[in-house]
């Protein structure tokens, strides 16, 4: 029986959703379950790869709808700051190294308070996401190099903050 007086007349496009925000907890609560399942199915190393692949898949489509402004994306720091801003609405700190860059993330959107994961750097999904995003930017002639990104510290593993090491390829 149709009893709604004002049923929806359309649907969201991906472009519409770029401007939508949702509660971060929605993702973090089901991410716990994903990590657990991936470890069960693939083991620790396989789980890291699977989580990074999920991040890569998100970045590949996200790029089509959220492209950083070329003029403002002259360095790795610029582009990473812009992606963090659009995706998670905060910024991170950086430290330059001889081979690349370290992202120091004191507000990790994945490692929520209370979650404990001793086997894998819990927020490694972000590695796949940023690695892919930066790789596509490089392919599309943004003036930044391709990188390999690996979480080296994670709040869920007991570290005071999360860190991701970016090695320039």
């Amino acid at each position: 029986m149709e009893f709604w007086t004002n049923p929806a007349q359309g649907e969201y496009s991906r472009l519409d959703m770029v401007d939508l925000k949702v509660h971060n907890t929605l993702f973090t609560t089901f991410y716990v379950q994903i990590v657990s399942l991936m470890k069960e199915k693939y083991g620790v190393e396989g789980a890291k790869d699977a989580l990074r692949e999920i991040g890569e898949g998100v970045a590949t489509t996200m790029w089509k709808y959220v492209k950083p402004a070329k003029a403002q994306s002259k360095t790795l720091e610029n582009i990473i700051e812009e992606i963090f801003g659009v995706s998670f609405y905060y910024t991170v700190e950086f430290k330059r190294t001889e081979t690349g860059l370290i992202i120091i993330d004191k507000n990790c959107p994945i490692c929520w308070e209370g979650v404990v994961e001793k086997d894998i750097p819990y927020c490694c999904i972000l590695d796949g996401f940023f690695e892919k995003y930066i790789s596509i930017a490089n392919d599309e002639e943004y003036p930044i190099p391709k990188v390999q990104m690996r979480a080296t510290k994670s709040k869920a593993m007991g570290d005071p903050h999360c860190e991701h090491l970016l090695t320039i390829l």
């Binding site: 004002n6 649907e11 089901f30």
Partner: protein, 203 residues
């Protein structure tokens, strides 16, 4: 805190205002990011479980487990908005939906019949299904979905677990079962969710 038998006007007003406050202070993630993270998770589950119905079934179970964590954090906040009866749970559902998804429920209704009593709501547009109709990398439609689960049953699982925890807290002798009963990806015009409240003995 003592649970009321029925919510009054003041409680309803607090719920209307409070959901905006909850949303305002919540830590946010981009909507497209969540939508794509769900798609990629389902893509991975498809590899593990061979077909979409099995993948969605597992995702629903994951969401039910996730719902416990979600409600655990939220229960303290919503205690003020609860009363020991099912019709008043519409207030909590509206507040919860808005404070997690930043999206108003378009319409919501409580039905005593046909039994079991149930609450049904519809949205303007669905953030879970958005963009998926034209996504050629995973074909989601009436045929591939199978008979039992819809694409938005991730949300069903989360809210089913959360409502069950709330019902248990209120000591209502009910078992909650929640489903996305209409889905744009199945060809329906709008999304619709239904929560049924079965008497515990009839589960």
């Amino acid at each position: 805190m003592m649970v009321k038998d029925k919510l009054g006007f003041t409680d309803r007003m607090i719920a209307k205002i409070g959901k905006h406050w909850l949303w305002w202070r919540a830590r946010k993630t981009n909507g497209l990011l969540l939508n794509l993270a769900i798609r990629e998770t389902i893509r991975r589950l498809l590899i593990i479980y061979d077909n979409l119905p099995n993948a969605l079934k597992e995702f629903n179970q994951m969401a039910i487990r996730a719902g416990h964590d979600l409600m655990f954090e939220w229960l303290d906040t919503v205690k003020r908005l609860t009363a020991r009866n099912v019709p008043d749970l519409t207030v909590v559902v509206e507040a919860a939906w808005y404070s997690f998804l930043g999206q108003h429920i378009e319409e919501i209704a409580y039905h005593a019949t046909p039994e079991p009593e149930h609450i049904t709501w519809t949205l303007d547009k669905c953030i879970l299904c958005g963009g998926m109709k034209h996504d050629e990398s995973i074909i989601i439609n009436d045929t591939t979905l199978g008979p039992d689960f819809n694409y938005g049953d991730f949300a069903s699982g989360v809210f089913q677990a959360a409502l069950q925890m709330l019902v248990d807290y209120l000591e209502l002798p009910k078992i909650v079962y929640l489903k996305e009963t209409k889905c744009i990806l199945r060809g329906d015009q709008y999304p619709e969710f239904t929560a049924w409240f079965f008497p515990k003995a009839q589960q």
